[in-house]
């Protein structure tokens, strides 16, 4: 009997292990970096934001996987017909999930070195242990109810968000920490209720499978009976791509509800600037950008429609262009357009700033998530893997730009005094415009060219994503080759640009 339980426990552990390892390693890496950069003047508070995002999303995804892997692999029915009580199956899952979630909480706690961004005890408590409570109490039941692991994550995030929105409406933040405390206890209460509902829901869980298919086939027949107007395939493809993103749009819908609450609080107190709107918008922006990318390929693969879609008699590259266009466009519209629209309606005089950098960051994040999605068998994994992939790529690329620049400056030193002397001599002379153009050209190689290199790397990433999307070959070797190519492109191009700038400086006569 003990060995039987051992085998069953081992299976539950194995189901969570990859996600647990990915999140734990990412948290540990960030914690290590945070400790390296913990002292003045090197302290980087952006690391804390990364910890919050990786921990929050990681622990929620882990909980979604605890039940969601049965849905993803089609094993739920087989599991439920095994001759053991359902409560035992549920307990086994929780026995594995709870320590795993707590472990991530402990790791996240150690990764927040200074709590620079969230100084109040209640904020840190909510940030570290709030996701753990939600993961244990809310994600499992929401995963089972929505029958989608990502659905569990999305709606689980929404519940404490709503509690915060309501409590913040009652106790605006500037008055004190009441809103945070209400959110904390509200989340705990919601998690407790969630556990009770889970207990009940699991006893009565239905493994329909064919029901939705049946219903949809009836709906399809009903649709067929109507007079079918011929539609262009591009329009139908766009519609299909938008339909794939329904959860992304659901997230945005929840965001709109949250914003309306925040704005209601602002209307009540006109002096209240509402940093919460920007905080919620920032979270929504990042989450939607990644979610849209994560759904692009993996959702089709999960639904089993990818092969038939790719084999449609239209060039695969055209299909991919439409997919990429819809995904990137939707990400920008939802992440930037929606906050802009809300602010334009709420405060026309103080619109949401649409900056090029923000749009570029969204496009880059969505492209990265699309690449991860092209390698993933389901969208939850795509979303989960996108965060570490982006953190790692940032650390290995733009994060190393400063040391790289310093190394190149040492390798190809420039006599600044000589350049300064030439500039002083030529300033306000006829030679100055030509000299100015020369300096601008060098400056372009030093900074703007790197932005173009990043855009090029992003384009190549999308090219690889397109290849992965239509191919069945998703081997480690393929991934390693693609990642190495991307890194080589970035580093060689960047080194070349910086070196050209240095050489050009030295060539100034």
């Amino acid at each position: 009997m003990t060995s039987a339980v051992g085998i069953q426990l081992r299976k539950e552990v194995r189901a969570l292990l990859p996600a647990l390892v990915v999140v734990a390693i990412t948290l540990t890496a960030i914690a290590f970096l945070a400790r390296l950069k913990s002292g003045f003047p090197h302290y980087r508070n952006d690391l804390e934001l990364w910890v919050a995002i990786v921990h929050g999303l990681g622990v929620l995804s882990l909980a979604a996987l605890a039940f969601g892997h049965e849905l993803m692999h089609g094993t739920m029915a087989s599991l439920l017909v095994q001759p053991v009580a359902r409560r035992r199956i549920l307990l086994l899952k929780m026995v594995v999930l709870i320590p795993a979630a707590v472990l991530l909480g402990v790791l996240a706690d150690s990764a927040f070195v200074n709590y620079y961004l969230w100084r109040a005890r209640i904020q840190s408590q909510l940030l570290v242990w709030g996701p753990v409570a939600v993961a244990i109490g809310l994600v499992p039941v929401l995963t089972l109810l929505t029958r989608k692991p990502l659905g569990g994550v999305v709606f689980a995030i929404a519940i404490p968000g709503m509690i915060f929105g309501v409590s913040e409406y009652v106790y605006p933040l500037r008055d004190g920490a009441e809103a945070w405390w209400i959110t904390w206890y509200g989340t705990l209460a919601a998690a407790g209720i969630g556990l009770l509902v889970l207990w009940r829901a699991f006893q009565n869980l239905e493994a329909a499978g064919d029901g939705s298919a049946r219903a949809s086939s009836r709906a399809a027949i009903a649709t067929d009976r109507r007079e079918a107007a011929p539609r262009h395939w591009i329009w139908l493809l766009v519609k299909k791509e938008l339909r794939l993103q329904y959860l992304t749009m659901t997230v945005s819908g929840l965001y709109v509800v949250a914003c309306v609450l925040v704005m209601a609080a602002q209307s009540r107190d006109p002096e209240y600037l509402g940093p919460t709107f920007y905080a919620v918008s920032a979270l929504h922006c990042g989450f939607v950008a990644l979610l849209a990318g994560a759904f692009a390929s993996a959702e089709e693969r999960q639904l089993g429609t990818l092969a038939s879609q790719v084999l449609m008699p239209q060039a695969a590259w055209r299909q991919w262009l439409i997919k990429a266009g819809v995904t990137l466009g939707l990400a920008v519209v939802l992440a930037v357009g929606l906050p802009w629209l809300l602010m334009s309606v709420h405060r026309p005089a103080d619109p949401f700033p649409i900056k090029d950098e923000l749009v570029a960051a969204i496009l880059l994040a969505t492209s990265a998530a699309m690449y991860v999605s092209s390698l993933s068998s389901n969208s939850l994994w795509a979303l989960l893997a996108s965060f570490p992939a982006i953190v790692l790529s940032l650390l290995l690329t733009t994060g190393q730009l400063r040391p790289l620049k310093l190394a190149i400056y040492r390798w190809l030193p420039v006599d600044q005094q000589r350049i300064g002397a030439i500039m002083s001599a030529e300033f306000r002379t006829d030679a100055w415009p030509a000299r100015r153009a020369q300096l601008d050209w060098i400056s372009w190689w030093q900074s703007d060219a790197i932005a173009w290199i990043i855009a090029g790397v992003a384009l190549l990433t999308m090219f690889f994503a397109a290849r992965n999307h239509r191919s069945l070959d998703r081997s480690v070797r393929t991934i390693a080759t693609q990642v190495t190519t991307l890194m080589l492109l970035f580093w060689t191009s960047t080194i070349a640009c910086l070196a050209i700038a240095q050489i050009a400086y030295n060539a100034i006569r």
Binding site: A4, Q8, G74, T75, S78, G209, G211
Partner: protein, 302 residues
Amino acid sequence: MSTQTLAIEIDHLVRRYGRTDAVNGLSLRVPPGRCYGFFGRNGAGKTTTIKCLLNLLRPTSGSVRVFGLDPARREVEVKSRLAYVPDQVGFYPWMTVRDTLEYAASFRSRWNRDTERALLDQFRLPTGHKTGHLSKGQRTQLALIAAICPEPDLLVLDEPTSGLDPIVRREFIQTVIGAYQDAAPGARSVFVSTHLISEFEGLIDDFTIIDEGREVLTLDADAARARYQKIYARFAGAPPPLAFEGARVLRQQGREVQLVVNGNAESVKARLAAHSPEAIEIQALSLEEIFVTTLQTTGAAA
């Protein structure tokens, strides 16, 4: 006990999905020790019925009993006595064949290692391979092994042979299912839903045909073969116009006519003989032909 406990007892089962009736007032009884065929077209409600039987779906109304027990209230007792092979077989992709069988065995109080070994050899399944790397047919084979080895009293099979090649399919149906029932005659029941009716022809004792969630025909297989027959008649010239009550012209080509009769073969034969055919012959319908005839008749009536 005056009556034997039925393996399956379904009474006026209704299961709705929204406004759609997947199963609509179905009743059937499966005595123990029988191989029971459950036939119907795609979307007829077979899988939904099976899932209600396994407590994977809750009936909207009506009742379901397995070995006299309510699967929702006495779930462990019911599940201990049955095994299920779904139409869509799912496994944990990280597990090997061996791990999968160990995992399935861990839930069971009984597991026949000899049967497991024999079936693994018979199907030539590589025990070290990950289930994620198995072909569709191999996955089905693995699911069948996991269902047979605990030696359940009731084997519920939903399209069990989909994906199997003809040799393995025949081997499975005749050797595995046959041997499974023969090992405990009169005690082990099989409830099988399949479209490959002809493959199960020799094994089926009783069957029910359903359409749009309703029972259309329930019969003992032998009684069905005795009742549903086809009559071939060949005439010297063009056949005369034939319209007999209880008979349906299945095919008319040149001088030949083929009719299907339902329980009145001799009287139809006698009336055909009055037209002085050159030859006349009566044959029993196969279960597949009965299935097609029944549903075509139902469709035509509708």
